[in-house]
Amino acid sequence: MLTIRDLYKTYPNGVRALSDVSLDVPNGMFGLLGPNGAGKSTLMRTIATLQDPDSGSIKLGDIDVLTDKVAVRRVLGYLPQEFGVYPKVSAEAMLDHLAVLKGVTQRGERRELVGALLHQVNLYEVRKRKLGGFSGGMRQRFGIAQALIGDPKLVIVDEPTAGLDPEERQRFLNLLAEIGERVVVILSTHIVEDVSELCPRMAIIAEGQVRLAGEPRETIRSLEGRVWRRVIDKASIANYRAHMTVLSTRLAGGATLIHVLAEGRPEEGFEPIAPDLEDVYFGQLQRATGARAT
């Protein structure tokens, strides 16, 4: 159980990255959903002991994350958003190197671990190849392999699915889900499906604040009967935006589809639909911008 309380962080350039963030993250997959620049990465890095907040507290079980960093690091697996590699080093050598640094200093143990991890992420075949030649997906897989070194109790993956093809993404998420059966996994993403498909719990974060936290199903239920859909003329989007709370617009088969949040049918032509997590997400973002506008 990860407990985050009253976290504040303002960067020297004045950007307020975290503001009064409190969250409870139980075992299992936890989705952290938010647009780019919402403060997700700041939060992730703070939990991963790479950054200190201005104030607040984070506890992982009994461990005070902010002061006892070493203890956290011993149980942490972290795949940062910006994960680079040494281009001239082979996958196996790099993983071995990382395993040593993490503390797997016993040679036999390490060899077995590295082999197993590479198998797990299906990079065993290419283990001798230089990381510089890896595709984005291969790199991400390598990244998750290193995050699994040493049986982590807390796994943090920051925007891991960006740039993966659908099939690869699916399998990556499956792997995460499997990991999430045993330990805390925090998955930060701006892709709603990532969360809706496999996270029992989630939070939406925007402009440094937690907009909403809970189980995806419950949050969806809160919107039941309030989301409306209509095919509209592309030119009138601005008009709708001005008068209604537009959750999303998208092209579907050449037509423009609009989702609107409203207590009753906003106007003729709108039909009620069953809300999904995306509507929740966009709803929260709307409120955030709306709050800023007032």
């Binding site: 950054q51 990382l98 200093t105 077995e112 197993a116 299906n122 690869e168 499997e178």
Partner: protein, 1197 residues
């Protein structure tokens, strides 16, 4: 398209911090070249302005060679950028012509390189504006020279190099190959320059054309330039220089065209051989396999940390050693080392045996700057390695301690140092073996390696600390640069206290005799001191080691405060405490056991000495008649105890009631002198200056004598700020009687530099008195309180050593476990004695009734046989021509090679061990040992029989004459033709010396003290020419006649007028102007052989027509020259080719002093053999403004 590519690329280049780093470094170096005395690049010596047009041009031209290392980065880097960055497909999918693409990239890289050189020019210029430069050494800013150098030399050179490397880069597509090409080019050029330019004038034109940098042609165009020319002229862009520039410009264009033609914008590039097709490995997808990862334990504790540490070091080191840049830098280091090795220890072009300490010194010398730059570079690379690769976030979230990466980076840097030093050592061993020197000393290499490692590693740690503290790599580089420049600035300002100069330590001079002697102890203590600081800084660096993404300094401070716990506190406290404690110990040694004086304090003390005590100069004093000393030497303790007894006599016509005692003021404070003499009262007691004045209770009557006993104790304990007491060391003690009390004002302590004198309120330098000064002629030039004295000495030293003093050995015995020697000089001698002690071996021979001895050390008797032979030759020549040798023994006694000189005392010649290392295996090299030994031996006549009064021209009577005797010995040994090489060196040294004169150049007959370039170098050339013009027997006879008049004379002493009068008498009327030119004026000739042709005559002989140029100049003391009529005949020679091709073996077909006309003229002679070379003054006998250009090949029609 070209413009877009060009502008884009240029912007890229100018944004690159590497560009700024390189530009700053080069600019700083150029700045130092004009602003400091210690960095010299363009030959700004003596009367040549620091910013003379010629100096500017030469400096910029030499810097353009740096282009070799810039171009790969800027041009080749630009050409390869798209292939490395995987943007090739993107770029080549656009409708871009190869020419525009390559041209744009090339032009931008070229312009970037030019900008770096522009920075050099700016550095030079700013350097010349610095306030501390003597305005007399500056001319007006030579804007035209800057423009000329950039336009004619720099920009075309960079163009050619750029084109060459562009071709290499496009052909090979690899940075490594490009660098290899650079090195290949560099080596080839070096070899070509050596092969073509080796003194063989026949190849000069070819060599000048073949040099792509144009330096050879520049040299040919400017070699006759005087200081005034160099200060004002710009080389004309004509002839060879023009041809050279056009040739290489055209070649550059051709290379560029070839690059465009051969450039292939596809993935493969130019294919040299068929590569095996590599099968595309399936990248695979993630399989939906169940999670099964074996359980492992994350370990902590010492063992696992050690594993982590060594793995990390291995990983970091591999990153460094695997990089092309490292190999290139190592190769460059070794190349630089080669240059140092070739010139290490050379004298007169004669090599010395490549003994290990010379090799090791060459390593530290040639690495110094280079390795600092390399370490600074890699410190940045390593500290920021994880961040650059963006793997830092992963590793930073690992449970590894903060110090782990920090220590790993440092260890990798240390590995870099070790690799450099080891490679250098192995390379030097190879060099030794290659030169047939098989006495390898790996252990000694290791010692030097250790000392150097300590030096460089300290800097490496500092560099890592600075990089760690900096908020980005380039801020770190800037900090490192600040440290380096700061250190240069501080040493420039003469702030030399090692206690306050971070990272500095006393030198540890090495000698073959005494190893590191006692000096390494101080070095190591200072290292320990500064390493304590390094450790403290490291702790701070570990506190601030960046982990994760701290947002600014406030957060870093917060994190550091969090990390500052018991272990850090403990280490920091211990390190700082040790720093302070060791500092106190160092202070005790360097400031309490020794007298530390800053540069300014030293100058002020000298100025005060003159201000307070010069009034006592010439005070009537009793003179030393008899010297009896007992000298106890304790080499291991570095202690000497002297008990002496002087007999002083009043030689004046009036009573003497004041006694002036001058004692030495050594740096050590363990120095004590007790004096005992008839009752007296102290009037002046100044221990700081060693100056004492006593009033005698009972004046010393004329003719009466008194005894003065002294007990002098001196020891060199501990260590000083810089090596002190090199004269008293465990093996190789050597000091003279100048450490005894003396009875006169010491003129040699006065400041001589007029700028310094001005600063301390003193008038212009007081040079030696004129020859007409009869009062001054009461003294010889080496003593102010004695004429000819009796001397006896009892020496004692440790049991394993031999102690040697001037005098005949009377007795040798053991007493109390110490070895005693008794030396006596029966005949009166100068008051000038040496004392030496070491574990000597002795080689003995006899020459007639004189026993010859060489005292040497070490297993090898390198130059001993040669020395003995030369002693004999000199004794034979001098005895035969000038009269008998006054002693029964003559000995040469080695002292450690801390200094390179030899000095003649009565029957004893202390001789630097360095001279014994001369490698004379090659017969064509100048026999330096014979030269030095014969010179010193002849001093037993020229100084110890006849010595000049303390007036101008005195040293001509000893040094120039000793040179003469030595040259005659060499001439008879090797033949007159072999003398040219020696004379040429002498002439070059004279010309360089006069260019560096700070006060005023004098003619030979009026030479001052310390004008070695006149009495040694010019004296040699003049006297050699004299004997060639008037005949050796006449010179010998004149010298003999003079010596017979002045041998052991009483005051007033002789001066150069007496000798010149005898020379004039012998030479006869024909040579009177020549003697005036040679001795009484500063005469310079400007002779050159412009061309020579020959035609075969019907009778088989050849008519050789020589076009010569000859002028004679009179120079004044500051070097201003005026033309005077050419009034002496000049030697003209025609030579046949030698069988072995060596110039010195060419047989003269015609050789005569010829009444050459002034200016251009033609001379025709008929010779009976096939002429090969023709020369005017072909043996460099005359003082010529330029020592080369006297011979030309004869072309036969």
């Amino acid at each position: 398209m070209f413009r877009e590519i060009y502008r884009f690329e240029l912007r890229q280049q100018l944004r690159s911090p590497l560009f700024w780093m390189i530009a700053c470094l080069c600019a700083v170096l150029a700045f130092a070249a004009t602003a400091s005395h210690s960095v010299r690049i363009g030959g700004d010596i003596g009367n040549i302005h620091r910013n003379a047009p010629f100096v500017v041009i030469l400096t910029l031209s030499l810097f353009s060679i740096i282009g070799l290392f810039l171009i790969p980065i800027f041009v080749a880097g630009a050409a390869l950028r798209d292939f490395g960055g995987n943007t090739a497909e993107l770029i080549f999918a656009t409708p871009l012509t190869r020419g525009a693409y390559l041209g744009g990239r090339f032009a931008a890289g070229w312009v970037t390189s030019v900008l770096v050189l522009l920075g050099v020019a700016i550095g030079l210029w700013i350097g010349s504006l610095m306030p501390w430069i003597d305005p007399a050494r500056l001319g007006p800013t030579p804007w035209a020279a800057y423009a000329w150098a950039l336009g004619v030399i720099v920009i075309p050179n960079l163009f050619f190099l750029g084109a060459l490397l562009l071709l290499l880069a496009t052909l090979t597509r690899s940075m490594l190959s490009t660098y290899v090409g650079v090195i290949g080019f560099f080596v080839l050029r070096l070899v070509a320059a050596l092969a073509l330019g080796r003194g063989n004038i026949a190849h000069q034109t070819g060599a000048a054309l073949a040099d792509p940098f144009g330096l050879g042609a520049l040299h040919l165009a400017t070699r006759y330039w005087t200081a005034a020319d160099q200060n004002s002229r710009i080389p004309p862009l004509t002839g060879l220089l023009m041809e050279n520039r056009l040739l290489w410009l055209a070649f550059g264009i051709a290379l560029f065209a070839a690059s465009v033609a051969l450039f292939k914008p596809d993935r493969e590039g130019v294919r040299w051989f068929r590569r095996r097709a590599t099968s595309n490995i399936s990248t695979g997808k993630m399989l939906a396999v169940p999670l099964s990862v074996p359980r492992v334990s994350l370990r902590t504790g010492f063992g696992p940390r050690l594993v982590q540490f060594s793995k990390l070091v291995g990983f970091d080191s591999a990153g460094v050693f695997g990089s092309t840049a490292f190999l290139v830098m190592l190769a460059f280091g070794l190349l630089n080392l080669t240059g140092s090795l070739m010139f290490s220890g050379q004298a007169f072009g004669t090599p010395v045996y490549p003994v290990t300490h010379l090799m090791a010194q060459a390593i530290s010398g040639s690495y110094q700057w280079l390795l600092w730059i390399i370490l600074g570079f890699y410190a940045g690379e390593l500290v920021w390695r994880e961040r650059s690769a963006r793997v830092n976030e992963v590793m930073d979230a690992f449970p590894s301690p903060d110090w782990l990466p920090l220590m790993s980076k440092i260890t990798s840097l240390v590995a870099v140092i070790v690799v450099f030093l080891l490679a250098g050592s192995l390379y030097c061993m190879g060099y030794q073996l290659l030169h047939g020197f098989h006495h390898l000393e790996p252990l000694l290499y290791l010692k030097f390696l250790g000392l150097n490692l300590l030096d460089f590693a300290w800097f490496a740690i500092l560099a890592v600390v600075l990089q760690t503290m900096a908020s980005n790599k380039f801020a770190g580089y800037a900090l490192i640069l600040v440290y380096i420049v700061g250190m240069i600035a501080l040493t420039q300002l003469h702030l030399a206290d090692n206690l306050y100069l971070p990272g500095s330590a006393p030198a540890a001079p090495y000698s073959d005799m005494d190893g590191f002697g006692p000096f390494w102890i101080g070095t190591l203590w200072f290292r320990a001191y500064w390493y304590c600081l390094d450790v403290a800084l490291l702790v701070v660096a570990a506190l601030f080691w960046m982990r994760g993404n701290p947002s600014g300094w406030r957060e870093r401070m917060k994190v550091a405060a969090q990390r500052f716990r018991a272990p850090s506190m403990a280490i920091l406290t211990v390190a700082l405490a040790a720093f302070v404690l060791i500092g106190a110990f160092l202070f005790h040694n360097t400031h309490e056991l020794y007298r530390y004086q800053s540069h300014d304090e030293r100058l002020r003390r000298a100025a005060n000495y003159e201000k307070h005590y010069r009034r006592y100069m010439g005070l009537a004093q009793p003179r030393i008649m008899d010297v009896k000393v007992s000298v106890a030497m304790f080499p291991a303790q570095r202690r000497v105890d002297v008990r002496g007894r002087y007999t002083l006599v009043n030689k004046h016509g009036h009573p003497i009631d004041q006694l002036l005692v001058q004692l030495p003021v050594p740096d050590t404070r363990e120095f004590k002198v007790d004096l005992a003499f008839p009752s007296h009262m102290a009037e002046i007691t100044d221990p700081k200056q060693g100056f004492y004045l006593y009033r005698l209770a009972e004046p010393l009557a004329p003719g009466a004598s008194m005894a003065l006993r002294f007990h002098e104790q001196v020891a060199y304990p501990g260590f000083a700020n810089e090596p002190a007491g090199e004269q008293i060391v465990p093996n190789g003690t050597f000091f003279g009687n100048w450490v005894f009390p003396h009875f006169c004002y010491d003129v040699s302590r006065q400041l001589t530099d007029n700028n310094q004198r001005r600063r301390y309120g003193l008038g212009p330098a007081q040079v030696m008195p004129k020859r007409s000064d009869l009062a001054a002629r009461a003294n010889t030039y080496i003593s102010c309180d004695a004429d000819w004295v009796h001397f006896s000495a009892t020496l004692s030293t440790s049991a394993g050593q031999i102690a040697v003093a001037s005098g005949h050995l009377q007795r040798e015995w053991m007493q109390g476990g110490r070895r005693y020697f008794h030396y006596v000089l029966n005949a009166p001698t100068l008051d000038f004695f040496s004392f030496q002690s070491a574990r000597y071996r002795v080689a003995r021979e006899a020459w007639h009734n004189v026993s010859l001895e060489v005292y040497y050390t070490g297993r090898r008797a390198y130059g001993v046989a040669r020395t003995l032979a030369s002693m004999k030759d000199a004794l034979a020549y001098d005895t035969k021509h000038f009269g008998p040798y006054q002693f029964r023994q003559l000995r040469v006694v080695e002292f450690p090679g801390y200094k390179s000189y030899a000095q003649t005392f009565p029957n004893t010649i202390p001789y630097s061990h360095r001279f014994m290392l001369e490698d004379l295996r090659k017969p064509s090299d100048i026999d330096y040992i014979t030269y030095v030994t014969a010179h010193e031996t002849s001093h037993e006549w020229w100084a110890h029989q006849a010595i000049g009064a303390n007036v101008r021209g005195a040293t001509m009577l000893s040094e120039s004459l000793a040179q003469y005797s030595a040259m005659m010995v060499m001439k008879h040994l090797y033949g007159p033709l072999a003398m040219r090489k020696f004379l040429k060196y002498q002439l070059d040294q004279y010309l360089a010396g006069r260019a560096g004169e700070r006060v005023k150049e004098e003619p030979l007959a009026r030479v001052y003290e310390n004008q070695d370039y006149i009495d040694y170098d010019k004296g040699a050339v003049i006297l050699y020419a004299l004997q060639d013009y008037i005949g050796e027997n006449k010179v010998d006879a004149a010298l003999r006649a003079w010596l017979d008049q002045v041998r052991f004379q009483s005051p007033p002493y002789t001066d150069s007028r007496d000798l010149i009068a005898d020379l004039r008498a012998e030479a006869g009327p024909k040579y009177q102007t020549l003697i005036t030119d040679f001795f009484d004026r500063i005469t310079l000739f400007d002779d050159r052989m412009e061309s020579a042709t020959a035609r075969k005559l019907p009778d088989g002989q050849y008519r050789v027509t020589m076009h010569v140029y000859a002028e004679e100049y009179d120079a004044n003391g500051t070097g201003k020259e005026t033309r005077t009529p050419l009034d002496i005949p000049i030697e003209i020679g025609v030579f046949a080719k030698a069988g072995n091709g060596k110039e010195q073996d060419e047989k003269p077909l015609y050789l005569a002093k010829y009444p050459v006309r002034e200016g251009h003229s033609a001379i025709s002679v008929i010779v009976s053999g096939v002429p090969y070379q023709a020369g005017i003054d072909p043996f460099n006998e005359l003082i010529d403004r330029v020592s080369s250009g006297h011979r030309a090949l004869v072309s036969i029609h």
